[in-house]
């Protein structure tokens, strides 16, 4: 008997079925893959761009008909090359990997910053089935960086947007808006995904107001299956124990979360 999961852990070649420009620097790539269609919100895949790199990406949509997508910001060499890919081009996909968001019904706050919005969209789909009453907060630097806004507005009645330069929605940081809301309202769960400093602030707010909390974290990932140790944060592996961590877990990595991450060589760098 073999304990190995060759189907999951070897890149499956998929063809890009659709490309959507979400904003000047973010594109969504649609593909068909059976394993991804069975993924849970918050899980990620390793995307192989043959000859270039293999990078971790959250699934931005998960559909039972087998169609899934990744939504990618152009941030480095691999994502630049990926952005040139067109319908009919191929990608390698392995996974889905990691845990997923624990679903909470009732009053729910979701806070997404930048491309951290990506895994929160399939989360909304799942939460609405429970049902949950969602207050969705989106933060971006500027209007041009916003994406998924229409999609989220269609699904959720309470959506608030902040931009740092005030070019759309409220001017300021999304965490400041969250703080104002938390002063008055109670939530059964707060979900956050975005820059780690933002998630740290949301974690501290959740602690202050005694609310349950989950955040999806990011680190340099190599193996994706929990053995190489590249993506460790304290006693956790992002790829296996995460990427979603509860407030209780984050308390255990307080001297690391929001403060530093590890480079590819394993050394620590400040966030």
């Amino acid at each position: 008997m073999s304990v190995y999961l060759t189907n999951i852990n070897r890149p499956r070649i998929v063809r890009i079925r659709g490309v959507r420009e979400e904003n000047p620097t973010v594109k969504t790539f649609v593909f068909q893959d059976k394993h991804c269609s069975e993924a849970k919100p918050g899980q990620f895949v390793m995307v192989w761009i043959p000859g270039v790199d293999e990078v971790p990406m959250s699934l931005s949509s998960i559909n039972s008909d087998g169609i899934s997508s990744i939504t990618v910001a152009e941030v480095g060499e691999a994502t630049q090359v990926l952005h040139q890919r067109k319908i009919g081009d191929i990608l390698g996909i392995r996974g889905p990997y990691g845990n997923s968001f624990a679903l909470a019904s009732g009053q729910v706050m979701i806070v997404g910053g930048g491309t951290g919005l990506t895994p929160l969209v399939p989360l909304v789909d799942s939460l609405l089935k429970l049902p949950a009453k969602i207050s969705f907060l989106i933060g971006a630097k500027t209007r041009d960086e916003l994406f998924f806004l229409e999609k989220i507005k269609k699904a959720v009645s309470k959506v608030n947007v902040t931009t740092e330069d005030g070019s759309y929605g409220l001017k300021g940081l999304v965490t400041d808006l969250a703080e104002k809301i938390l002063e008055k309202e109670e939530f059964d769960m707060i979900y956050a995904c975005g820059p780690e400093k933002m998630m740290l602030k949301m974690f501290l707010l959740a602690e202050q107001y005694h609310m349950s909390f989950q955040a999806s974290l990011e680190r340099y990932i190599r193996c994706g299956i929990g053995i190489c140790g590249s993506c460790c944060i304290g006693e956790y592996r992002i790829c296996k124990d995460g990427p979603v961590f509860s407030g209780r877990q984050l308390r255990k990595v307080k001297n690391e979360f929001g403060l530093f991450k590890r480079e590819a060589d394993g050394s620590k760098v400040s966030l």
């Binding site: 073999s2 190995y4 293999e54 390698g92 392995r94 929990g226 140790g229 590249s230 060589d265 394993g266």
Partner: protein, 304 residues
Amino acid sequence: MSSRLDTEIAGLKLKNPTMLAAGILGLSGAFLRKIAEAGAGAVVAKSVGLKPRMGYPNPTAVQVDCGLLNAMGLPSPGIHNFGEEIKEAKKGGVPVIVSIFGFSPDDFAEVARVAVEEGADALELNVSCPHVEKTGSEIGQSPSLVAEVVEEVKNRVDKPVFVKLTPNVADIIKVAEAAVKAGADAMTAINTVRAMAIDVNTTRPILANKIGGLSGQAIKPIAVRCVYEIYRRVDVPVVGCGGIITWQDAVEFMLAGASAVQVGTAVAFEGLDVFRYIAEGIDSYLERMGFGSVKEIVGLSHQH
């Protein structure tokens, strides 16, 4: 678990004969500590060199039938940034063995010196990584180069020195004998087997480095044979490594001559509890078979 599992290798006292293999989760002290607390008898930290190394780009790992293929490229923060991790690892309360690599005997010795200064209980010389040029198995394939490295390290530190051997040689015994003659205190057999995987759709090798090392179930019979052969010819303890998932695998290695076993790839599929499962399984086996100590089964297959 009972005292039946107590064992000793090159002066290191182990509460059970399971060890974390090098290269698995050993980049951070917090994780080494967690593995110690999960039940490993000793932990081996990920190979560390003199200077920081970024390793290879991804893909660095890919699954193949009955095994895992990897070419990480020895990513390491360098020994001068690793002291904190060693100190944290030691809080786990089990021996911490630091795997080291270098591009010359002097490199190895200097890394060894600093590692010991920072608290390493022992060293494991990585002369067997199959996918980085001018180190690893390029040294480990030559008995004389291995002897040079061992001698230089032994001159510089007075902690036990394990030598992790490569199976990618015509005769592993020659390398083991040279290492022991040069003063090595224990052998670890084996590192990964040089291997590759090619994607048929893109016609490309999957690993960025094209060639990597194969671990897991596929290499277990090779590793058992290596341990068996080495045990017959050298007088130092042998640590078995390669495809150990169950307690039966561990016992098989011990019957071949291993005083302890290292577990690596199985961590991905069985989780961190794999050390406790294997140790408990060995303990039950010893009781059932009427052995008073795990030391009694080491090399037992050689009587046949």
